[in-house]
Subunit: 117 residues, 2 copies
DNA sequence: GGGCGCTAGGTAGCGGTGTCAACTAGTCGG
DNA sequence: CCGACTAGTTGACACCGCTACCTAGCGCCC
C-alpha cells in the first residue's frame, strides 16, 4: 500500500504561473483576431506559446470573462458545422488587457531581478 | 443572506502571479544571504521587489520547502533576543532554484510575447 | 449500417497556495 | 504595568488551472 508517506503532489510550475495571466492571454488573442470561439482559442493559444490547454480550462475562463464584462459572446449556427459561440472584446476588456500587460511586464522584470544571485 | 448578488472577488493579479514564484524568490534570497530566518526574509523580499508579504504567507512556505528537502532549518536561542529559526539551502534547493530561474525567464518571455498585440 | 475520430461546448470536483485575521510569547522603553 | 516591536504559528477562505467525464453533430471508411 505504498506507505503514502509525506508524498505531496505539487503540480507543474507552469500551471501555477498561468494563474492570473491566462485570462490576459485570451484577451490578447481576441485583440489580435477580433473574435474567436473557444475551440479556436485552444489553437491560437498554442500558437502563441501556451500549448496543452484543454476545454475544461478555457470554457470556464471565458464564462468568467463574460461575467466580468470583459468579453461579449454570440451564438452562430451554420449548415454543416457545429454551433459555435464567438467571443469579442468589450471596451472594458481592452482596458483590462492594456493595464494587465503593463502590470505583467513590470512584475516579470522585478521577479527576474529578484531571482538573480 | 447578505445580498451577495453576483459579486465576485477577484484578488489582485499580483497575488496570483506570486503563486509559483514566491518559493523561488525565497530560495534566491537564501542563495544570496547564506541563511536567514522567517522574519528577516520578509524584509529581504521587500527589498527584492516583493513588498507587503506577511508571516502567514512566508512561514507555511518555509515549512513546505523544508518538507520538500530544499532547505534545512536550525533553531537558535540567544540572550536578549527571541528564538529564531534559521534556514539554509540544501543542494537540492540550489538545483531547484537554478532550474526554476531558467524556466521562469523562458515563461516570462513567452508570456510577454503572447500579450503583444 | 456501424464504428471511429474530429469539432464544439460544457460540468464537477480536486488541489495548492496567497491572504486575512487572530493568537502566543519574548524583549525593551517609559 | 503597558505598549510596541520582534518572531513564529495556525485556520478559514477564495481563486483557478487541472483531470475526467459528458453531450452532440459531422464526415469517412469498411
Amino acid at each position: 500500500m505504498l506507505g503514502g508517506m509525506g508524498e505531496v503532489v505539487r503540480p507543474d510550475r507552469e500551471s501555477q504561473w498561468l494563474k492570473g495571466v491566462l485570462d490576459l492571454a485570451v484577451l490578447a488573442v481576441l485583440a489580435r483576431e477580433g473574435s474567436a470561439y473557444g475551440y479556436s482559442l485552444l489553437r491560437s493559444l498554442a500558437d502563441a506559446g501556451l500549448p496543452g490547454l484543454r476545454g475544461g480550462t478555457v470554457y470556464p475562463l471565458l464564462g468568467r470573462l463574460e461575467d466580468d464584462g470583459l468579453v461579449q459572446s454570440e451564438w452562430t449556427v451554420a449548415d454543416g458545422a457545429p454551433a459555435r459561440r464567438y467571443f469579442a472584446l468589450t471596451p472594458a476588456g481592452r482596458q483590462v488587457l492594456a493595464e494587465g500587460r503593463d502590470g505583467w511586464s513590470s512584475f516579470a522584470d522585478r521577479m527576474t531581478r529578484a531571482l538573480e544571485v
